[in-house]
């Protein structure tokens, strides 16, 4: 035992060091590096009429760059608005007070996120402030449905020629198609 002990100790030491090294590499190379646990962030709220598919932990972006996360989503029991709490990195503490927030979607099927558009107010947003200028999530399917069944029907008959002067030249068979398919 005593003659084998140093070898075992070396093997155990090598195992532990290797394991810790691979933990460290994994933590840096394969995660978002969000090591802080909320200490260096400030929170602002925003009210929306419709969140769409927005969830907790969705990114908060300015100009496509992630600066924070959605930390909480609740429903105001009186006004029945949804109240979204945004936790924003303290590095970006100079966002103007009239910054506006919109719920956007990356791509056609992508995740939804909160996009902030900075305004021109010299005062910055502070912890606990509310963003007043908001734009709710746009439901793509609802939009398509509205266009097909109301917008399309309204100007299908008379406005064909006016809406799309190139269409009638192609022939009469296009007449019975709604304008968006011509």
């Amino acid at each position: 035992m005593s003659s084998r002990a140093p070898r075992i100790e070396f093997a155990v030491g090598a195992f532990l060091l290797l394991a810790l090294a691979s933990l460290l590499v994994l933590a840096i190379a394969s995660t978002n590096g969000n090591f802080g646990f909320g200490g260096d962030r400030y929170e602002v709220t925003a009210r929306f009429t419709n969140l769409g598919p927005l969830r907790d932990n969705a990114p908060v972006k300015v100009g496509g760059v992630t600066i924070g996360q959605v930390s909480d989503i609740t429903l105001d029991p009186v006004k029945l608005d949804s109240v979204v709490t945004l936790a924003i990195d303290n590095r970006y503490s100079d966002l103007p007070a009239d910054t506006s927030a919109a719920i956007l979607t990356s791509g056609l099927l992508g995740e939804s996120y909160v996009g902030l558009a900075p305004g021109g107010d010299p005062d910055p947003l502070k912890d606990g402030d509310e963003i007043f200028l908001t734009q709710p999530s746009v439901d793509l399917m609802q939009l398509v449905g509205k266009y097909m069944f109301s917008g399309g029907a309204d100007n299908a008959a008379g406005d064909d020629a006016a809406a799309d002067p190139a269409a009638p030249a192609e022939g009469g068979s296009d007449e019975d198609l709604p304008p968006y398919l011509q």
Binding site: A14, A19, L23, S30, N32, N57
Partner: protein, 249 residues
């Protein structure tokens, strides 16, 4: 009275857990035993964990490619790999491999100690058999399963990188960036290792309990080994569901 018997066996397992925790004192002898157990059940499990992780990474990548390509999102394959690996596959498969590799040996060793009256002998020498034989194995497992999970995950990600970049043709930078964007440090990465520590504790406790209370015969040892693998695997899978449901809502 099957209900009373079942309740009593749960109670015995709980009391056994308590006695293991109470017997864990960091004396020099305990630390020496701990190092030996880390070598036996941790370092010696490395090959099976590494190879297992690599093959899991390869097959998850193929599966993810097949599923995501339907939506034209094949370059998101590393998001599926990262989340699947850290949330479920890494801790669970490491624990299951660990149970097969080390849990069975814990149960067999303790069962044989029981069969050859070594546990009784320790007691006669006024040495606590739980503190001497069980506690070091328990703490070695709690320490080793998270570390083995780290090996499992790094091998799986490396193998997946090879498969995705060199075989399927995902862009290398896209692979890493999608992986980084999808895996949250606190919610996914840290939880994976918390889960792994719990699984290590469960696996070692079940194996030690079954081995420690084995029938003192040759057959009793083999029954204990079988029981340890079956019960520990089932418990790990159940704990995994409960922890996933609580942690990842």
């Amino acid at each position: 009275m099957p209900f009373v018997a079942a309740t009593r066996s749960v109670g015995r397992a709980g009391l056994f857990t308590l006695s293991v925790l109470r017997a864990s004192k960091p004396t020099a002898d305990f630390l020496r035993e701990l190092v030996r157990e880390i070598y036996k059940i941790g370092a010696r499990s490395l090959p099976i964990i590494a190879v297992g992780g690599a093959f899991v990474g390869l097959s998850v990548t193929l599966l993810g490619y097949r599923a995501l390509d339907t939506y034209g999102a094949a370059n998101q394959v590393s998001a599926m790999l990262g989340l699947g690996l850290y949330r479920e596959l890494g801790p669970v498969l490491t624990a299951l491999l660990f149970i097969g590799r080390a849990g069975s040996s814990i149960a067999a060793e303790l069962g044989l100690m029981r069969a050859t009256d070594q546990i009784t002998a320790l007691g006669l020498m006024a040495i606590d058999p739980v503190g001497k034989a069980v506690a070091p194995r328990f703490w070695a497992a709690v320490l080793c399963v998270p570390l083995l999970t780290a090996f499992f995950c790094s091998l799986a990600i490396s193998a997946s990188y090879f498969e995705a970049v060199h075989v399927i043709g995902v862009e290398s930078g896209v692979f890493w960036q999608v992986l980084k964007d999808s895996v949250d440090f606190g919610k996914d990465f840290a939880m994976a290792f918390a889960k792994a520590a719990v699984f290590g504790a469960v696996a070692a406790l079940v194996a030690a309990y079954v081995g420690f209370h084995a029938e003192p015969t040759i057959e009793g040892t083999s029954v204990a080994t079988t029981k340890a693998v079956v019960n520990a695997s089932l418990l790990v899978l159940m704990f995994n569901f409960v922890m996933s449901a609580l942690l990842f809502r």
